[in-house]
Amino acid sequence: MARAGEVDQDTRLGGLYVGSLLREQLWLAARTLTVLALVVGSLPLVLHLAPDLAALRVGPFPVAWLVLGGATYPILVLLAWRYVRRAERNEAAFAELMDEVDR
């Protein structure tokens, strides 16, 4: 179990540690949301600029339906899975750092 004396005593050093964890996590969140905006959020704009894409079909199914109604969900799950792994890794690194500082 890591302890966190520096953080608890609200020292400058403790503030720096928490500040860097917070920035790391925020940066990770921003990256994930940017990918979401680029991959999913850009669809309306693309179709607005290139309306012919909507006529494309795979067999009897319109491509727009397959992409938005089907492919989006695995992409969302993948993004979430990647985020959870990296967020937990950031936290593990922080816990390890606290452990070393207190020893």
């Binding site: 302890r3 403790g14 964890l21 309306p44 704009l45 607005h48 199914f61 969900y73 936290e91």
Partner: protein, 514 residues
């Protein structure tokens, strides 16, 4: 067969009645079982925070998949085409936004409800009261269409009078919530996710087999009409683009601000479990939302007329139209039961969230020297939380189901979303800034919706901006919050640093979390 309704050719009310009775009995039985486990106030409100990610994810999904998801999505897809795919996509993507921005810190804040979070973060009774008011407002806005939908479903599926649906749902929800609180509801919600998935998946699979056996017939409409139907973008050029993006903003950002969603995160044992729960929720919702487009597509082939005659009944009517005889009756019973489960689970979750806030901020405060105990206060809160919107639904007023749900999302995106995001990630937020932002976003988005509901529609930009306010009202709330906070910089609460540490430090690090 009791009667042959015009809406259900070839089937009667019997399968629907059987299904509704079965779902109600199962719900009450599970709720009673939970009652034996619920003893303390903490049990009632957050299931003593001992719910694992798998159970909690099924419960979150079961609670979240309302009538709008079970019936509304397929109906909207049939009537308006692919632009409506943004509803299910947005309802799912909202959880990704929630995951990366608020899930773990929100759990670590250690608060029971949204007003608890606001007070802990900002140390202000005024912010707390503003949030309590908003939770009740959004909760009632979201409960009203559930009761209305129940009335429509019961009337169309079993031919009962219009008041029957709201009354049955209200009574079952009240019995469950007042008897067992969150512990029993968690079990009921998790069960109802799997019930709803099965009730939609099995008929869809049978219908697909029938469609395959019929030689995979295509869309009978003209190619041009089919192309227009398959564009996931609202009509009207730039206005359509705005409407689509505003819908995306409301659903992506509004999910984290729905009171019945947020209250579920406090039942996780820690921040890590809160994240894993959210990841599993994305999987469960993704699987479920593959199904509404199947119903819409098959209805396009087999029952194109349904698009004109109130498409909310599509999911209920399609199985009976495609599969004749007993098989059709069984499938119809399944979808009716699933729809009823959708009303029950979403209204139970909302009732818990609203009752939690009412009991903390109204009923357990001292009044003339007496005060209610925690559990009694929660029960009193639950009665008020359910009776008020059920009463409004009985008067028959209110806008359409989809409109009211959309409004709830827009208000949540314009109020609690900026409050949570800034509260968790920005040390500079002040009580004055929070209140100003909540008021700007809340008043802006709800005023826009009221104007839309009570004035005739037009084609101008003003009408478009008011119809889907989230794209401007959410940024407005954020800017006001930041601006006023910067202007009142000296009133940043003294404990801010300490609290930020608690929100972001993993549980593996031992902290003085006092």
């Amino acid at each position: 067969m009791i009667s042959d309704l015009p809406g259900l050719p070839g089937t009667g009310a019997a399968p629907g009645i059987v299904a509704i009775v079965l779902v109600t009995v199962a719900t009450l039985a599970l709720g009673t079982y939970g009652l034996r486990l619920s003893r303390t106030t903490s049990d009632f409100m957050v299931a003593s925070r001992a719910v694992g990610p798998r159970m909690n994810a099924a419960a979150v999904s079961g609670e979240y998949l309302s009538a709008a998801s079970f019936l509304g999505a397929a109906g909207l897809l049939l009537a308006f085409g692919a632009e409506m795919l943004w509803y299910p996509v947005g309802w799912t993507a909202g959880y990704l936004v929630l995951l990366v921005l608020v899930a773990a810190p929100l759990r670590r804040s250690g608060a029971y409800t949204l007003p608890d979070f606001a007070e802990a973060r900002l140390g202000s009774r005024a912010v707390r009261r503003t949030c309590a008011l908003l939770v009740v407002a959004i909760g009632w806005l979201y409960l009203l269409p559930q009761f209305q939908g129940a009335g429509i479903t019961l009337a169309s599926a079993v031919g009962g009078p219009g008041w029957l649906g709201p009354v049955v749902v209200a009574v079952v929800v009240l019995v469950n919530v007042t008897a067992g609180g969150m512990r029993s509801i968690t079990l009921v919600q998790a069960f109802q996710y799997w019930l709803k998935l099965t009730a939609l998946l099995v008929p869809a699979a049978v219908l697909l087999v029938v469609w395959w056996g019929d030689g995979r017939p295509g869309d009978p409409a003209s190619t041009a009409a089919t192309t227009a139907w398959s564009v996931p973008l609202a009509d009207g050029g730039a206005q359509g683009l705005y409407l689509t993006y505003s819908l995306i903003a409301a659903t992506f950002l509004g999910t984290m601000g729905l009171p019945h969603v947020v209250v579920r995160f406090y039942t996780n044992p820690d921040g890590r479990a809160a994240r894993r729960t959210t990841l599993l929720v994305l999987v469960l919702l993704g699987v479920f939302y593959l199904l509404p487009p199947v119903y819409a597509g098959l209805a396009r082939v087999y029952a194109p007329g349904l698009a004109d005659s109130g498409s909310d009944g599509l999911v209920l009517e399609l199985p009976g139209l495609v599969v004749p005889g007993l098989g059709g009756d069984v499938l119809t019973g399944m979808v009716v039961g699933g729809a009823f489960a959708a009303f029950l689970s979403t209204s139970s979750g909302l009732a818990i969230a609203v009752a939690g806030v009412l009991s903390q901020d109204v009923f357990t405060r001292p009044f003339r020297g007496t005060r209610l105990s925690g559990v009694a206060g929660f029960r009193a809160g639950a009665v008020v939380a359910v009776v008020v919107p059920a009463g409004v639904a009985l008067t028959g007023s209110g806008a359409g189901v989809a409109t009211t749900v959309g409004l709830a999302f827009a208000v949540a995106a314009s109020t609690f979303c900026p409050l949570l995001v800034l509260g968790i990630w920005w040390r500079g937020l002040t009580p004055a800034g929070a209140i100003a932002g909540l008021l700007a976003g809340g008043v802006g988005s709800s005023a826009a919706a009221l104007v839309t509901l009570y004035t005739p529609a037009s084609d101008g930009w003003s009408d478009v901006l008011l119809r889907q306010p989230a794209a401007w009202s959410a940024p407005l709330a954020l800017l006001v919050m930041v601006g006023v906070s910067l202007a009142t910089r000296r009133t940043v609460p003294a404990h801010t640093n300490r609290l930020m540490v608690r929100l972001h430090t993993p549980e593996a690090v031992v902290l003085d979390r006092g």
